[in-house]
Amino acid sequence: MIKKLLIANRGEIAVRVIRACRDLGIKTVAVFSTADANTLAVRMADEAVCIGESATDKSYLNVPNIITAACALRCDAIHPGVGFLSENADFAKKVEDAGLIFIGPKSETIALLGNKVAARTAALAAKIPITPGSTEVLKDLADAKETAKKIGYPVILKAAAGGGGRGMRIVRKEEQLEQSLQIAKKEALSFFGDASVHMERYLEQPRHVEIQLLADGQGTVVHLGERDCSVQKNHQKLLEESPSPILDEEMRKAMCADSVRLFKELGYRSAGTVEFLVEDGAYYFMEVNARLQVEHPVSELVSSIDLVQAQIAIAEGKKLNLKQKDVPLKGYALECRINALSAGKITNLSFPFGPFVRVDSYLETGSVLSPYYDSMIAKIIVWASDRDKGLAVMMRALEEVVIEGIKTNLEEQKLLITSKQFRSGRFGTDLYQKVCEQEK
């Protein structure tokens, strides 16, 4: 049984994990950078330890300081939240080596899935459709040319060790291939310390649809349905919904079954997500996110399962006493990310309340937003019986939001939600540009 848990993160996700711990009767330790001394997570936690300066590599990525704090305060476990160290196999290993429980997948699983080529290979082995392309890293230019010819242009070069949209190059003609390959390798090396690059067919306007899973590492894997995360700005998700307006029942079933099978074959433990691209009635495996995701509340609202509590129970070695039929998915959920567009002090703040609205945030009136960290400051999540009703509830909620003192994307989000394109459910990843940038 976990009695005390350290949260190796900050902001709204730290508050989210503290709330789950309170619900479970687990004491909490917050860690914080000097810039975050006066934040909600620090005050809500039972104990708090300063682990370094504002810059993330001095604090939230400072593995020795984090693990030392957990050990010295006699924690049993560390929850990495999302981002920062949450998908770092080396960190997970060090946590385990220090005799602590890592709330997440086994470190080997994280390491395996961190390599995009290995992940594609695992997906292929589990008979999941992947985008046409290389299943190994590209050997040289000749290999690249041959592969590109086989799959057809446009193609995309990706860092094998990559993720998060970095180290990627789109190539539309063979003439560009040589130069692009050189640049992609250089970026891969500088971002990830590994110049390996592989090639996939590039989809122009795919939908991003991901399946949320929960696995106990003891043979039980269930899915919590999908989330459609196609509304993005510069590869950053803005709105996430479940169910997806573009999946039919057949494709949904196939994607869920594929994902469950993959997690079973991986012997996956904890919460995790399989990301797919969907285009022209077909779906393609993209990657596995071996961690909790920002948009997890969407799945919590349609499944009535608390994913963070489930992660902790699984990490304690408990079996998931669930069969798939025990996870009925009900209604529709939508998350809207409120991002800060400037730093500064929040002089006035008011979040929405009332039926079927949830707010996950760490802001208070008087909070000072520092420029060091992620710009996401709040998530508004709503539930309704269907999508049309859900959009109405979200607009009601957004109209109740007041954030003064800084600039936010609140008005842009209202534009998106009321746009004809979003309401129709038929749009690509360029929705933000079409709706918000053409306004200007």
Binding site: N38, V49, C50, T68, A72
Partner: protein, 149 residues
Amino acid sequence: MDTIENMDLASVLSLFEQSSLSEMELSCSRYSLKFKRPTSEDQVVVSTPVKTVAKKAEAAEPVAQSASEDLQTINSPIVGTFYLTPAPDAPPYVKVGSQVKQGDVVCTIEAMKLMNQLETEYDCEIVEILAKPEALVEFGQPLFKVKKL
């Protein structure tokens, strides 16, 4: 209680503080006074929606603190367990009154089973030992109060 003329400032102030007043004016033969207190409209109370438990958080504040007359603090650069001695039965690196030279070790901070020896950055005299031996020290926590030499 004194007559109004003979009251001292602290007493007048204390009475006002205990009252529900937001403003007070007083004048008498010997002095006149005017107080104004911020009403709840005037001040923004930062909401604290959770119990504020005793925290080490405050300890992080005095990072760059430098007290008057050349008093400085040596702060912990890492998170770890604070030791004044190199080994359990060894004599301490420093005591109150010790004079140390730049580069001298003043304590050990254990982290991840590594013993990190902390060296001073300047010549100084140890004025006070602020951290508790064998306890956790956090980043930026003041360990010693010292006087620059």
